[in-house]
């Protein structure tokens, strides 16, 4: 067979089942190797699937609320009753104790003191928790890459200023800093001129959690850039007359990707946990918005009255964070060329 004529590929519809030549002959790139290694790690795959399942379930929260539970996340049923087997039970007892798990469509995981369906709130809360976690991770990564590369590349005064900035954030324990920012900003919201975040916005906790973790990623990245900028291929790019921006995006950034990829799940796990802690302390997601942290806080306030209010959001948090951590572990092993399955012992 002969090579196809060198016409622009996009105007040429693919003929038959021939795979594109370039792809067929290209050697396996580093990322494909990583993907292959990751596919061989069963714990990582299982946990990845688990996390994905939770994400999908949370996205389907409105469907569950409408089709299965028949109630929304903020609807109260304090005076309602529910049939369990042959008995009719109060959703919230006259003494204020909410019903536990019924394991049926209505109040699958029980109710909270306001007579709201815990299962429905769990899914809606999961949306908020996961959304904040993901956004916070994005904030952390963007800021960390920006600060880390600039500080490492320009050194000198830029590095001095940026590194001291990181030192200041690092000087405070994460939870305490988060509480400080959360409480301070919950009162007035945040007004940066360009961006305005009102006090009830979910973006506020996301931004706070994101900023708190920046030094943990920016520091190692800075160190890596400091080492990379002395390498020959960077010299070569400089001799070619490339500017700072092109070297940073074309030479430095691609070499940082594996570090960034390793940090992503780690930071996601930490962000979800910190959001929960902040919400527990009242400095994160504000009522009546559910999140796993606020639900857990409410459950703890009612202990020992209704342990299901503690167990449901708590176990979800553990499940998701554990899944993300195992996935991250697998990813790190897959990216580390020295890693041999099961260690070196």
């Amino acid at each position: 067979m002969s090579l196809p004529p060198p016409t622009p590929a996009r105007s040429e519809p693919t003929v038959g089942t021939e795979p594109p030549l370039a792809a067929a002959r290209a050697p396996a790139g580093p990322w494909r190797l990583v993907a292959a290694r990751l596919r061989r790690s069963r714990p990582a795959l299982v946990c990845g699937a688990l996390v994905l399942a939770v994400v999908v379930a949370c996205l389907l929260a409105p469907v569950y609320a409408r089709e299965v539970a028949g109630t929304g996340p903020d609807e109260n049923h304090i005076t309602d009753t529910v049939r369990v087997g042959s008995r009719t039970l109060d959703v919230v007892s006259p003494t204020g104790v909410p019903i536990g798990p019924t394991w049926q469509r209505r109040f699958l995981l029980g109710a909270d003191p306001n007579g709201r369906d815990v299962a429905v709130r769990l899914l809606y809360g999961g949306r908020n928790s996961l959304e904040i976690g993901a956004l916070a991770t994005l904030v952390t990564m963007l800021l960390a890459v920006l600060i880390g590369t600039l500080a490492g590349w320009f050194r000198g005064l830029t590095d001095g200023v940026l590194s001291r900035l990181l030192d200041v954030i690092w000087a405070f324990p994460p939870v305490l800093l988060g509480v400080a920012l959360g409480v301070a900003l919950a009162i007035g919201g945040l007004d940066l001129g360009v961006v305005k975040l009102s006090s009830g916005s979910l973006l506020l906790p996301a931004a706070i959690v994101g900023v708190v973790f920046v030094p943990y990623v920016a520091r190692p990245l800075r160190g890596q850039v400091l080492a990379l900028r002395e390498r020959e291929f960077v010299d070569a790019a400089r001799v070619q007359g490339r500017g700072n921006v092109r070297i940073l995006t074309g030479e430095i950034l691609p070499n940082l990707t594996s570090t960034i990829v390793v940090f992503l799940p780690l930071m996601l796990a930490n962000a979800i946990l910190l959001e929960a802690a902040l919400s527990y302390l009242g400095a994160g997601v504000q009522d009546p918005n559910p999140s796993w942290g606020t639900m857990l806080a409410e459950g703890i306030r009612l202990t020992p009255g209704a342990i299901h209010l503690v167990l449901a959001p708590g176990l979800m948090l553990v499940l998701v964070v554990f899944g993300v951590n195992v996935l991250g572990d697998g990813l790190r092993d897959a990216l580390d060329p020295r890693a041999v399955a099961g260690g070196r012992g």
Binding site: A277, Y280, L281, V310, G314, V318
Partner: protein
């Protein structure tokens, strides 16, 4: 040694200065930060607000306000804006539970972190190592307040094994102190044990490949001696520095979640309450306390470094 200490003290003073200035400034720019408005009460006339501002010196230039506040902090006479109680006395009251928490939990997580780390490395790849890995990840993935709530419910309420939160001073009732602190210690330690054991396991596995380990084995030293004297000594260095930083964070109120779950009335809770009231003096004092703890433990860690690795000198 003297030069090392002098340098560290100078550095510490610079850090403390920077931290205090920044904390002070942060409270000037956040919305609703004007203390005079809050102190004058809900239905204050402009005259009252003006009087409060005059009396407390909020009408002075910022650097002057900063200087007087710091002066008062240093001679121990600073009072909080919201309750007008001496801040240092408040912190002296809240420090014992926090210190008890930090030291006890710090010992537990260092001990078990090292134990599990060594076990995992020695049995790398085997079932027990995998089990430890899963446990460590589970520990890292569990929110502290969830763990604390479960402990309180099962150990405290259902089975009645341990008291339900609160703090008993060590000097009054040592056994009561111990039983009251046991749950907070465990809750705070679990995640750190997970992290430390993982870091140490990786460090030991790395060190096992070093030439000097091969030499030590070739000399015919027993495996135990190689492990303890040649491998562990080197792998402990990152653990020690991690430990110093973590302990400093707990002393400075970083364990606020545990303190509030177990109702210990520690420095963290005090800090959070003060922050919620936008009360500058207590926040300043707590931040300085954190910075001090970081500096002191940093020096301690460096001395431990030098003990662990004779190549490290105390000059840098």
């Amino acid at each position: 040694m003297a030069r090392f200490l002098a340098r560290r003290l100078l550095g510490a003073a610079a850090v403390l200065f920077a931290v205090s200035v920044l904390t002070f400034l942060i409270f000037q720019v956040i919305p609703g930060g004007d203390p005079a408005l809050r102190m004058a009460g809900r239905e204050a006339t402009p005259q009252t607000v003006h009087d409060v501002r005059r009396a407390w010196g909020f009408d002075r230039p910022l650097y002057e306000q900063y200087a007087t506040t710091m002066e008062k902090i240093l001679d121990g006479s600073v009072v909080s804006y919201s309750q007008q109680i001496n801040v240092e006395q408040e912190i002296a009251r809240d420090l014992p539970p926090t210190l008890s928490l930090a030291l006890g939990a710090g010992l537990i997580w260092l001990l078990f972190g090292v134990l599990f780390g060594v076990l995992g490395a020695v049995r790398a790849g085997r079932a027990s190592d995998r089990a430890l890995t899963v446990l460590a990840l589970l520990g890292v993935s569990t929110p502290i307040f969830f763990l604390g709530a479960l402990m309180l419910y099962y150990l405290g309420y259902r089975w009645g094994l341990l008291p339900l939160g609160g703090y008993v001073p060590l000097t009054r009732d040592p056994w009561g102190w111990f039983t009251h602190m046991l749950m907070p210690w465990l809750a705070l330690s679990i995640a750190s044990i997970g992290i430390y054991s993982r870091v140490l396991r990786a460090g030991i596995l790395d060190t096992l490949g070093e030439d000097y380990v091969r030499t030590a084995r070739a000399k015919g030293l027993s495996e135990r001696r190689v492990l303890v004297h040649h491998v562990l000594r080197n792998s402990l260095i990152p653990i020690v520095s991690l430990w110093g930083l973590d302990l400093a964070a707990v002393i400075g109120g970083g364990a606020i979640v545990v303190e509030s779950v177990f109702d210990l009335h520690g420095v963290g809770q005090y800090a959070a309450e003060s922050i919620a009231r936008l009360d500058v003096p207590p926040v300043l004092v707590v931040t300085l306390l954190v910075a001090c703890a970081v500096v002191v433990l940093g020096v301690l860690v460096d001395i431990l470094y030098a003990l662990l690795d004779p190549r490290i000198r105390l000059s840098a």
